[in-house]
């Protein structure tokens, strides 16, 4: 019965969404407050309906109700509870339901907390939000109903894909979706602003926290996915430029650009139509992220739902949403009044350059991802575009961006003196030079890439610290006064610093792994010894152990360095009998300097086991850096000025305009 209730709630949500799409829009055009206000109630009702539907599906998973086809396909009675729950979104139907749930949640948030917004802007934004919701609800009900029943009910389920039974991947899709859908807010507000014909700093102040929240979630989601690929696939790598990975990376790049350009709108009332365009494009790329994974147009190691009919539906939806909004953009954007002027060399100018580089980088990823499809469709020739392509296109675009990152925050708004800014960066330059020399002398391979990479990381750290020292006037006023200034700095300033430092840490890890990684492959039997760089790995034994819903085979290995014990590793192979699928669980020993990574392939006593071992230098810094970026986003979000509806803080602590970007 509960599943039917969920289905019914979903149908109800569809009608509520339809009303929410139409009524407030009409109200805004007629300036009828009552009609506009209807949007708020509808948004709450829609959220409630979808929440009921989602709860019903989750309930079916928890009690293992295999009469529901979706539960039967993706769950098993012996599956641990965590994976029963993550099974809800670990499949096509459930993940779409999750998608609209978040969409409705954001709509609800606008309704609940948007009291300081102009009534017509809020009404229009809610209406646009509901249009998206309506499209996806139709999609779910027509092609992907998660509540379909099976009769007679099977005895047990087919189990969630074992690769998805993992803590990293349990939370990867929800985070990713939180990011994708979060950008719908920027989109809805962009459309609403186009309809209003007005974009002003107040608009940007409202849009920015949502964009920031979405960006933070998306960052977290991408990193979780990358981390999962790193330890679960057993290939030692963490980013493969796989089309599905790219699909989530493109909205991230565009979203990062949007985050920065929205600052210019907020602070300087400038770059309006560009920001609107970015908001549309970011959401379009988010939709494409959904579309690419769902349609099977791209096949890749990650795709877990392949269905052309659904793909066609989403494609139609996308053409309607994106084509429509770009048409609206073409009509209405020229009307937007342009605001504050600035010189090319200024904070604004720097942010423009940042935006250009980020969107160009995004475009190269876009081309690399879609070109194989294009070639296949036109000539039938099959090609693949791999990491070398991205190393030759994406990386060269990132280098100027990262160099600029060190300088940009030191430039003044409106007009700046580049020489003066560079002079202030002397300490950062010295730091960079020292790091470069140090790397060059210590690196046996003498790779230019490593020097450039570490140099850039040092430059960013130097730039961020210099800017911080300037803000608190370190050494120019007393230490106590500096400390007071430091505590007075806004959350968004600290958020920005944290995120930029995180990026530097991330680069450190990525560069270290790329240039200094060591690996060894061996066929080994218990008793054998494998040499990996300075380490000796002794294969002690192979043992078996049953897990809750799998059989595990463990290898026990002792790692020593110059005879001194380092650690004991237990790489594992699992066989999931229900899906008849083996998985590899790598064993990783982590220190701040490196990961020691061992995975075991198939084998037996007679032929031995294939053992693949890596030293991945500095990789932990990638995860630390990513975590810092996420924390930066969160710290920035905690800033009172970004909190919607919060009264303006009265404070004399920040006399200069404090730009948080």
């Amino acid at each position: 019965m509960i599943a039917e209730l969920g289905h019914f709630a979903l149908i109800a949500a569809l009608f509520v969404a339809l009303a929410q799409a139409v009524v407030p829009m009409v109200g805004a055009n007629r300036r009828d407050l009552a009609l506009m206000d209807f949007g708020r109630y509808a948004a709450s009702a829609q959220f409630l309906c979808i929440a009921i539907a989602f709860a019903a599906l989750t309930h079916a998973y928890i009690i293992s109700d295999f009469s529901v086809a979706n539960v039967f396909q993706n769950s098993h009675s012996k599956q641990p509870l965590l994976y029963k729950i993550s099974g809800v979104w670990g499949n096509h139907e459930g993940s779409m339901l999750f998608w609209v749930l978040i969409l409705a949640l954001f709509g609800f948030a606008v309704a609940a907390f948007g009291n300081n917004l102009p009534a017509s802007l809020r009404a229009r934004a809610l209406s646009v939000q509901a249009m998206i919701g309506f499209g996806f609800l139709v999609f779910i009900l027509l092609t992907s109903n998660p509540f379909e029943r099976l009769d007679p009910a099977p005895l047990d389920g087919r189990e969630l894909n074992p690769l998805l039974q993992d803590p990293g991947l349990a939370f990867h899709p929800p985070m990713l979706y939180l990011g994708y859908v979060g950008f719908s807010m920027a989109f809805s507000f962009a459309i609403a602003a186009l309809l209003e014909g007005r974009v002003d700093p107040a608009w940007a102040r409202w849009v920015r926290p949502w964009t920031l929240a979405a960006w933070t979630a998306l960052t977290g989601g991408i990193v979780l996915g990358s981390w999962w690929a790193y330890y679960e696939l057993g290939w030692g790598g963490w980013w493969f430029w796989d089309p599905v990975e790219n699909a989530s990376f493109m909205p991230w790049l565009a979203g990062t650009a949007l985050l920065h350009s929205a600052i210019v709108v907020e602070k300087r009332d400038s770059l309006k139509s560009w920001t609107i365009l970015l908001a549309i494009l970011t959401f379009a790329l988010s939709l494409m992220g959904t579309f690419l994974v769902r349609s099977g147009v791209l096949t890749s190691v990650h795709a877990f739902a392949v269905d052309p009919e659904r793909g066609l539906f989403i494609l139609g939806l996308m053409i309607l949403a994106v084509g429509g909004s770009l048409a609206l953009f073409a009509m209405r954007a020229p009307v937007l009044k342009s605001g504050g002027l600035f010189r090319p060399i200024s904070r604004e100018g720097g942010l423009v350059l940042n935006n250009l580089l980020l969107s160009t980088a995004c475009a190269t990823v876009f081309i690399g991802t879609l070109y194989p499809l294009f070639l296949d469709a036109t000539t039938g020739q099959k090609v693949s575009v791999g990491p070398p392509f991205y190393n030759a296109t994406f990386v060269p675009l990132m280098i100027p961006l990262l160099v600029l990152l060190g300088v940009g925050p030191l430039l003044a708004w409106k007009r700046a003196d580049i020489l003066q800014a560079l002079t202030r960066l002397w300490a950062a330059a010295v730091l960079t030079a020292i790091v470069c020399l140090f790397i060059w002398s210590g690196d046996d391979g003498k790779s230019v890439g490593a020097v450039v990479g570490f140099g850039i990381a040092a430059w960013i750290v130097g730039g961020v610290l210099t800017e911080y020292a300037e803000r608190i006037r370190l050494f120019r006023i007393s230490i106590g006064a500096s400390l007071r200034r430091a505590t007075g700095l806004s959350g968004s300033s600290y958020g920005m610093m944290l995120a930029h430092l995180g990026l530097a840490a991330f680069i450190t890890g990525a560069v270290g792994d790329t240039f200094w990684g060591v690996e060894a492959v061996a066929n080994a039997r218990p008793g054998d010894k494998i040499t990996l760089g300075p380490y000796d790995i002794t294969f002690d034994k192979m043992s078996r152990e049953p897990g809750p819903n799998y059989e595990a085979e463990f290898a026990t290995m002792t790692v020593t360095r110059d005879g001194e014990p380092v650690t004991r590793l237990r790489p594992e192979r699992r066989i999931y009998p229900v899906q008849r699928m083996p998985t590899t669980e790598a064993a990783i020993h982590t220190t701040l300097a490196r990961d020691l990574y061992v995975s075991v392939g198939e084998g037996n006593q007679a032929d031995g086991w294939a053992v693949h071992a890596w030293i991945n230098p500095l990789v932990p810094w990638m995860w630390i850096g990513a975590l810092m970026m996420v924390c930066g986003g969160l710290v920035s979000l905690s800033d009172r000025r970004l909190r919607v509806g919060a009264p303006k803080r009265i404070s004399g602590a920040a006399p200069q305009p404090v730009g948080g970007d």
Binding site: P152, L155, S273, L312, L326
Partner: protein
């Protein structure tokens, strides 16, 4: 000039959308491939028998009267779910039921049949899954209706249910038998 600039994103998007739609609309997707097996001759590769004394499957068997070809495996839970239904229909004599044992060790498959009963008239043994590839099987269970000329007429993915049997498969079987498989 200024206005044209604002139109540019729309134009670029239009071009991209068109080329995106093309591969899907032209039906090049991998999933559409196997279902093209409908109304095509069933693969005639000879499969050795699974059970001693019971024939396997070959071209001659497939050319015989209308039959259901059911892919099953002992490791497949839904196969167990549909098994009583198949047994009932096979016992009633309304259908001829052939089985193809898919990616299964012989002893496991035999134990499974011993436990649940063996409703099949013939069983082909497909340890490697090669027959599965040729028939275009996504997973087990899957059931095909093959007419008297050895042409595949219908395919059901997943466990059979009473509803599917009564409303889709039986009417089709009766029609094919009456019409001589035209």
């Amino acid at each position: 000039m200024g206005r044209l600039l604002y139109l540019l994103p729309l134009v670029i998007f239009g071009a991209i959308a068109a080329y995106f739609a093309a591969p899907i609309l032209s039906g090049k997707d991998p999933k559409t491939l196997p279902s093209a097996m409908i109304d095509k001759p069933a693969p005639t590769q000879t499969l050795p028998p699974l059970v001693d004394g019971k024939p396997g499957i070959d071209a001659a068997a497939l050319a015989g009267p209308v039959k259901l070809v059911n892919f099953f495996a002992s490791w497949c839970v839904p196969c167990r779910a549909e098994h009583p239904l198949l047994t009932r229909y096979a016992a009633s004599g309304k259908i001829r039921l052939y089985g193809i044992n898919y990616k299964n060790k012989k002893e496991e498959a035999l134990a499974w049949l011993a436990e649940l009963g063996d409703p099949y008239e013939r069983i082909g043994f497909d340890l490697s899954g090669r027959a599965g590839i040729e028939w275009g099987v996504y997973g087990v269970p899957e059931t095909y209706v093959v007419d008297a000329k050895g042409i595949i007429r219908y395919r059901h993915v997943g466990p059979l249910t009473q509803l599917v049997m009564a409303e889709t498969i039986m009417p089709l079987v009766e029609k094919l038998e009456a019409g001589g498989g035209s």
